[in-house]
Symmetry: C2
Subunit: 702 residues, 2 copies
């Protein structure tokens, strides 16, 4: 399906029917017709109500069937029980785009959920793309178009907003108007029975007025769909993503709000990494970052110049820049010389460039332009604290003048309150994003740099790993499923599964008797280890079912009895791997985002150190390498205190193979290799202990 | 010195002289006289200027000597070069409190620093307490009193603000006025030649109008003085602390701003822990937290109820509460039943309590009061997104009504912009702190809980450890200093130093020959370890100068040659300690905050894992125990996966002894015990490798 129907019918329809339009000005449906008219929609508007008559000067049609061409979008605002019939009528009328504003569906309980399911069926039956139910509709501030009942329209601007919540759309418009920030488009998606966050992102990709896509999501039921959509858009337009339900409390709150499953935070972060989105954690941070992305060119580097009239805020800004991974630009001697000519006597010409208490307003643009011309400066933050002697509004005009012709990003931070209300508006309208706090301005610049980095990063699309033996794994899993159903594979089977994907596993075999163990040990070559084999013993070392470094037949015999609890279980005999670094490689299937990989510090303390990185599977070599490098385990593998580097390439290869394995076999619910023992460069890595849990492959808990 | 002169003369003087008062309205000194008059100071005001005449209706005195009684405070605003003379004249006139607003001192370079040093001397000579130079002075919004030239006066309120930076005072007043927040007192301290942050904090302690003390600091040159002041105040009044210069970039920015040494972040954090302050990292966060502490009672627990008209912001709030260590209050069935009667049909009665789109305004106070009566609820956050159908100002009045008679804290979060300007003001004036973003409201509640925890925590004052042999350490350090000056002690001396403080060290001795080594090994008992002894070899394992687990004389002989590089150095022979957990315990002297302790994961990877906690030394047992528990190393010592717990009490004892040692001997610049090997409970811990660096005891680099 192309985006064409989504974009054209929802954001530029030839005519709009409002089903359930009311002539009662206290009704929300009256507000929709009012907004379509007063907010400037230039197409045809058709109120539909069985009572007929006239609403706000427009003739009312008694049914959608009676509405003449052209009509390309319907907005349904009838009570929940009547929506299905109205939707069906739209289908019969040939409409392909419908917005259901009415609430009373999944969010109110099982009965509502049943009504909602019916809408989904009807939409599918008629090939209707449906936004809602339980939403406020869409806006395009440039066209203009407003299908909502929100009393205010945003100013035209360059931020597109895709929101699960309609209330947050209203609050955002209110905020934006008060600070001179504009939107390009707004889409409130509500319960997302059809058009979801993924569609919302795609709808904004080709809109020429949209420079940045802000997304507020609660659940992401089809997580992979979101990842694919975002990944296909983010190199064209930045996506700034806020998601509720990232903590246990938030998950619960989201569930009680819309019945959405909020999901797992680690999986969400892995998804955002693949999706190429800039993650934010509050509405304020989202707006702060989006304002900069909407108006500023991208920086070529991370060096920031601070131009200020007060030292304190600049010092706070310097701290905040450091936390964003940005650095203070070194100001060249030549630039300092030029600055001296346009700044007050006594100005500190290093960075921060502190013009002390009383610069004249025009000094901001004069010094700002000089700083932007310095090749060592990638971004500029202008700070100002109103003081008795300097007129705020002239300072602000000077800051806006700095913007003219600039090819590098700049932002403004003015610390104050009521004296700044006009200044904030002027700055934002003038293309210089305004922030009240140095930390927020620093975060905005950090967001620019982060997006620039994302856009330039190598393609993360994985190349399938094909030199694997799928048939063997299929057979092993089928046999295990047939025999025991859901649960853990025995250690031998687990080793054979990963072995079939060319993950190196030490030679091993199962012994039921001490004699068999000795024979296997001879075959494997000494030293060997013995491990108890029993499906319910997950952490072998904890219960004594493990014997290491057995160097001859006597040692094997002596250990066999202990490991197998006097012969009650079998023992796995395994070639002992020489010392190396112990890391953990895990994988599990997330209900929303599918298979995930985890890498980190292995050994007994994995739960305590929590030194782990997560990624979606399958995974490219580049991405796997980044995943390893992100952890302390990875830095240790690189070689610490003169230790030789470990075989990271072997680890990357194994990460990719495990990623392919869990992607190929949805029946694998989770698995881990703990430890994966990594030798020096060139000597490989070994999956010493493999644990695999299978289920029906359908999701959590089946 | 008591606080009396500080408080009385600076905040309630009987008469104020303004030295350098001008009749030119464009001069800042004109503004000071104007503010004293128009902002309502009721005492006598004496402009001083050699020209004489009249300023703003007041007779001008030609010198401070001519000013009649009562005069208790002088504000000096003459050029930098003339300040010393003016200050001396104040001293001659018998003044004990002076504010120097003039700039041009340390902040402009060496010449200014010399002028500043002279002020310090003169103040000391006359017993003058001096605020400034390079500041804006003080305000008391209740008295009222305003010695600044800032055009605005804050509304009377309950936040005291102590600020290094005058510009930030101005910006804060501007902000506060626009949102209906008031201040009790403001003190801008500038270069702090005499009255410093510590004095500033003490000045606010007994002010009945002050409920919370906000501090903005750049440097804290005498860190221990700050710690003592804050520690003596925080159980009476909360202190919310913001410091610039916590990163490398910030340190540089502060240095170029005021020439202050910003210091080390770890030491600062350790100091804040001891000082009992609530740390914040931005002006916004500082204001957000202070607003709540200024107006709300303290919570008895960390359980929060969310009352909302929109699910999205409540879900974001739930996430943010979790990040603050707060939890969602479980709403009892009885409370839910009561809520049902006062909320719209369909309201979700769990937590969040979501009244959906259109609650009537009075429902906020009705439901809010019921929630506050639930014993499971410790705090309340009321969220509201303006919607077409609900009048904002009535909602706000309802929220304010909830406050009346409440004994638990509550805050409001309204998401929006221009439609809220009046609401913000009404809420804050009505004692319900307003936040635009759910994260900020959650941080404010988190700040209340954090302060409540600080106020109730046990006393951290350490009891001196006295069963130590100071004389031996003194002798060892004196001998080492006499022999080699600054540098590392040899390993044997280092072991004897800690041994004298009863830190357990394994038996050891120094051997120059293999025969001596064998003799010592016999005395120590096998197995032993050999270590190369050479002052310049810090990390012994890196260079091969270490042999472990030598079980007999032959092994000792064989290892001796290798360890000593063929006899070129000595070897330390040491009893080998049985296996245990390896942790690191370090100490160093910080230039601002004095001796510091560090504890964390030991071994080779200490730099990579950065699992360390810091505290000031000396340290109480309680505080040492908390320090250990804060780290992953400490959690491992508690026993992981069925491992027996390690001897944490022994570790705590050693932490205290090392803390006492570095406090007793300023000559110890830094030291570490790495590893400290910790056995099972009851079996103790051993300082296996001790490294001590000494210097002249005066500070960094001497």
């Amino acid at each position: 399906m192309t985006n064409e129907p989504l974009e054209r019918y929802f954001f530029n329809p030839q005519g709009i029917a409002v089903i359930g339009a009311s002539s009662d000005p206290t009704k929300l449906s009256y507000g929709v017709v009012r907004n379509l008219i007063t907010h400037g929609y230039r197409g045809l508007i058709y109120p539909v109500n069985p009572k007929g008559g006239e609403i706000q000067g427009l003739p009312v049609y008694r049914s959608i069937a009676e509405v003449p061409d052209p009509v390309e979008l319907a907005v349904i605002m009838v009570r929940a029980e009547a929506v299905a019939e109205a939707l069906r009528a739209c289908g019969e009328r040939g409409l392909k785009a419908v917005i259901v504003i009415s609430g009373g569906f999944r969010e109110v309980g099982p009965e509502g959920a049943a009504l909602e399911a019916a809408l989904k069926d009807i939409a599918a039956q008629y090939g209707i793309r449906l936004i809602g139910p339980n939403c406020v509709g869409v806006m395009d501030a440039h066209l203009p178009l407003d299908t909502t009942f929100i009393t205010m329209m945003p100013e035209p601007g360059h931020i597109a907003f895709v929101s699960h919540s309609g209330a947050i759309c209203g609050g955002s418009i209110d905020w934006a108007r008060s600070v001179g920030v504009g939107y390009s488009r707004i889409a409130s998606l509500g319960n997302q029975v059809d058009v979801d966050i993924a569609d919302g992102i795609r709808m904004m990709k080709d809109d020429p007025n949209t420079h940045v896509i802000s997304v507020y999501a609660e659940g992401l039921p089809d997580g992979r769909r979101f990842v694919e959509a975002a990944a296909s858009v983010y190199r064209t337009k930045p996506i700034v993503m806020l998601k509720a339900g990232l903590t246990a409390a938030g998950v619960q709150a989201v569930a009680s709000h819309t019945g959405a499953l909020a999901g797992n935070n680690d999986a969400y972060r892995a998804a955002c990494h693949r999706a190429g989105v800039v993650m934010v954690h509050s509405l304020q941070e989202q707006n702060d970052v989006a304002m900069a992305l909407a108006t500023q060119p991208l920086p070529h580097g991370n060096r920031v110049a601070l131009l200020t009239n007060a030292g304190g805020p600049a010092a706070l800004a310097a701290d905040a820049l450091d936390r964003q991974g940005l650095v203070m630009a070194p100001i060249s001697a030549a630039t300092q010389e030029r600055l001296k000519a346009v700044t007050p006597p006594g100005t500190q010409l290093g960075n921060p460039i502190d013009m002390l208490g009383g610069p004249r307003p025009e000094m901001y643009s004069a010094a700002g332009k000089i700083l932007l011309e310095d090749p060592n400066v990638d971004m500029l933050m202008m700070l100002f604290v109103p003081q008795a002697i300097t007129p705020v509004n002239e300072v602000v005009q000077s800051m806006v003048a700095t913007r003219v012709g600039a090819t590098k990003p700049l932002v403004a931070c003015l610390v104050g309150g009521e004296s700044l209300n006009e200044a904030i508006y002027t700055l934002n309208r003038g293309g210089v994003p305004y922030y009240r706090d140095p930390n927020r301005a620093a975060r905005a610049l950090g967001g620019l740099w982060e997006y620039r980095w994302l856009r330039e990063r190598p393609d993360l699309t994985p190349t399938p790993i094909t030199d694997v033996d799928r048939a063997t794994v299929q057979a092993l899993l089928d046999a295990a499923w047939a025999q025991g159903g859901a649960g853990f594979l025995d250690a031998d089977t687990a080793a054979r599964v990963v072995g079939a994907y060319k993950v190196p596993v030490p030679f091993s075999g199962l012994a039921a008797t001490a004699d068999e163990a000795v024979a296997l040990a001879k075959k494997a070559g000494y030293p060997v280890v013995l491990k108890r084999i029993a499906a319910d013993v997950i952490h072998k070392a904890d219960v004594g079912g493990l014997a290491l470094d057995l160097r001859d037949a006597n040692a094997v015999r002596a250990a066999f009895g202990r490991v197998t609890d006097g012969g009650r279980t079998c023992a796995m005999v395994q070639r002992m791997i020489p010392a190396g670094h112990e890391v953990i490689l895990g994988a599990k299937r997330d209900a929303q985002f599918g298979p995930q990989l985890m890498f980190g510090m292995g050994g007994l303390y994995v739960e305590i150190l929590r030194d782990v990185a997560f990624r979606l599977a399958p995974i490219s070599a580049e991405d796997a390498r980044g995943m390893v490098a992100e952890t302390a385990a990875g830095r240790i593998l690189e070689g610490v205190r003169g230790a030789p580097p470990a075989d990271i390439s072997a680890v990357v290869d194994i990460v990719q193979r495990v990623g392919q394995l869990v992607s190929d076999f949805p029946r694998i619910a989770e698995m881990d290799i703990n430890p994966l023992i990594v030798g020096q460069t060139g000597s490989g890595a070994w999956a010493v202990d493999v644990r695999i849990r299978i289920d029906g492959g359908l999701g959590i808990g089946d």
